[in-house]
């Protein structure tokens, strides 16, 4: 089966600092790939390259069968939720949806559908700057799903959001995956993630550290993390105490 994402020997530098140092990755259709790494590990850099936002130094990146360096056609079949609040700050919630519906050539029906599914009706008239973190993230994901993307990239989707919004987002992600969608979700808190339902739908976890990506099964990744925590505790003398 042809992968939805194929990354080969990807190198990315910012100034002299190496962010990604020969990353290799393949993500297949219907898969939910977890991208784990501590802050500054390069998760956002990798996701932005996959979304065609940033250029990269070397390597090869294929998304939905297109070479990311040569074509932008894959972008029409892509959805992205960024870590930073990147919705249009000068627009209201409804205007953001409306604007992105037009930019992504999505149908009005899709727009109404995401409003309903993400329970956004009460917030449509509010400026996005006035939305709480959870509602904002629901709106951001709704915008990302407007064009029914084949690949969804989510950068730290669940950071600091309320339980109700978390529940809605999880439900919609499951629905998206059940309909054959593929997603790559980044996160930086293994403890929090391994306790959520989301962890159960992640098929593999890519651990990004010092520019390199190591792929684990979710259980293995959690064990690795716990070992790492023990090692930190031993080094700090916490266990002996």
């Amino acid at each position: 089966m042809e992968p939805v994402v194929r990354v080969t020997d990807l190198v990315q530098k910012i100034g002299k600092r190496i962010i990604l140092d020969g990353v290799n990755l393949e993500v297949y259709k219907g898969e939910c790939f977890g991208l784990f790494g501590l802050r500054g590990a390069g998760k956002t850099a990798l996701l932005h390259i996959l979304a065609g936002i940033d250029r990269f130094r070397s390597g090869r990146v294929e998304v939905l069968g297109y070479d990311a360096r040569k074509s932008e056609r894959f972008k029409h079949r892509l959805g992205l939720v960024t870590q930073e609040k990147s919705l249009f700050q000068d627009l209201r919630a409804a205007e953001n949806l409306d604007f992105l519906t037009a930019l992504k050539n999505a149908s009005r029906e899709n727009c109404y559908r995401v409003i309903e599914r993400f329970q956004l009706t009460d917030y449509l008239k509010l400026p996005v700057t006035a939305l709480e973190a959870g509602v904002y993230q629901r709106l951001a994901l709704a915008c990302a799903l407007l064009n029914e993307p084949e690949l969804l990239l989510g950068d730290d989707l669940f950071q600091s959001i309320d339980p109700a919004s978390r529940h809605i987002i999880l439900r919609e992600l499951r629905e998206y995956l059940a309909c054959g969608g593929t997603c790559i979700l980044s996160f930086n808190n293994m403890d929090a993630y391994s306790k959520t339902d989301l962890y159960s739908i992640i098929s593999r976890v890519g651990w990004l550290e010092q520019g390199r990506l190591t792929v684990y099964q979710p259980g293995e990744a959690r064990e690795q993390w716990e070992d790492r925590l023990k090692s930190f505790a031993e080094q700090s003398g916490e266990l002996h105490a």
């Binding site: 029409h76 609040k85 249009f88 000068d90 992105l100």
Partner: protein, 387 residues
């Protein structure tokens, strides 16, 4: 299939344009500047130059002769429209002090034995002192004094000829055989308001427009939402083209009330057709927007872009040759000035408002503005696509 592509492109264009309207309208500071800036400028400048010509320049006359002739001279000076005698000090030193304190701009000293010297046809030295610290005052005062002294000289000459035995009519004819008839064309009363008010208001307008244009690219690429736009695969050309249409339309909309007030309410001169004038303004709006867009393409952030834009827009009015002739500037400054769209615009509006020189004459002005627009947009597109 092609229709679908065109209709989706049109839908995107309209969405970007609508969003740009929201963006410009909701930026309260920019909205106020754009809507009120140039109008306020026009009102303030019109009020400033409401006198239209400079009259009643404060003048002091020292009459050291106190003769009938010297009193006649004082009366002649007092009767001129442009000078107003406000003091009659007793000495040159007092005049000097009055000028130092700024109480008078012109000082005239009639020497002792003035009447006697005139009657003996000897040379008389009348001292006329003009405060040169204010150029406008000084120029007007100098012109008025020149006119008075010319008349006095002529009268003295006629008297001399009569005293020499010439018939009074012949003497007068001798002095009026060569006449200099001054005919200031296009602005016969040398009205300051006609010359300056519209240009100053348009200077404010072009600065406001430059502020907006400077945000065209960096205002998007410098925001976090740029990631979403890039990830959506939106054509940069389509996006900035749609934004630019809204901005240029806004520039024209904001100048319309200025033109309405100028030409219909304040009755400032407009020699050419209004539509030609508006077309010329549109050409300038394009060139100005392109320049601002170019600035916004290479600036690192919005603040820097605004600074660069203002560095161009603020001195451009001085450099454009409207208030000080370009020909009097050093060659290198002249060459730099012709690169600026403001130079072509302000030179052009001077011709259009006062003279209407016709299409053939104005064609280079239109062409230059369009060339600046094309070059600046091209450079901006190249820079933006590489960054």
């Amino acid at each position: 299939m092609q229709n679908k592509v065109v209709s989706s492109m049109l839908r995107q264009c309209l969405a970007v344009m609508r969003r740009e309207v929201y963006y410009l309208w909701r930026d309260k500071g920019l909205r106020k500047i754009l809507l009120a800036g140039s109008l306020l400028g026009l009102l303030v400048f019109y009020a400033t130059y409401s006198a239209q010509v400079l009259k009643g320049i404060p003048t002091a006359i020292v009459d050291l002769d106190c003769s009938r002739e010297s009193r006649q001279l004082v009366e002649d000076i007092s009767n001129t429209e442009n000078l107003k005698v406000v003091a009659n000090p007793g000495s040159f030193a007092e005049v000097e002090e009055l000028i130092q304190r700024g109480e008078v701009v012109v000082g005239v000293v009639i020497p002792e034995n003035y009447a006697k010297s005139v009657s003996l046809r000897r040379q008389v030295n009348l001292a006329v002192i003009i405060d040169g610290s204010n150029m406008i005052y000084a120029t007007n005062a100098a012109n008025t004094v020149l006119a008075i002294t010319g008349t006095i000289n002529a009268q003295a000459g006629i008297k001399t000829l009569i005293a020499g035995g010439m018939h009074p009519d012949q003497a007068r004819e001798a002095f009026s055989s060569v006449t200099f008839r001054e005919e200031p064309w296009f602005n016969p009363t040398l009205n300051y308001a006609y010359f300056l008010v519209l240009a100053l208001a348009l200077n404010v307008w072009q600065q406001c427009c430059m502020l907006t244009a400077c945000m065209n690219i960096i205002g998007e690429t410098g925001r976090k939402s740029w990631s979403l736009l890039k990830a959506a695969g939106v054509s940069k050309f389509m996006f900035f083209f749609s934004k630019s249409i809204v901005q240029i339309a806004l520039f024209i909309l904001t100048v319309l009330p200025v033109y309405y007030l100028s030409f219909n309410v304040f009755k400032l001169p407009l020699a050419c057709s209004f539509w030609v004038f508006l077309l010329f303004t549109l050409a300038f709006a394009l060139a100005l927007h392109a320049t601002g867009t170019l600035v916004s393409s290479f600036s690192r952030n919005a603040v820097n872009s605004t600074r660069f834009g203002m560095i161009i827009a603020v001195p451009s009015f001085i450099l454009c040759g409207y208030t000080w002739p370009l020909e009097a500037m050093p060659q290198i400054v002249q060459q730099a000035a012709w690169v600026l769209p403001q130079t072509w615009f302000f030179q052009g509006i001077n011709y259009l408002t006062f003279k209407d020189p016709g299409w053939t004459f104005m064609a280079p002005f239109f062409s230059a503005l369009l060339v600046i627009a094309v070059l600046s947009y091209t450079a901006a597109a190249l820079i933006a696509s590489r960054s």
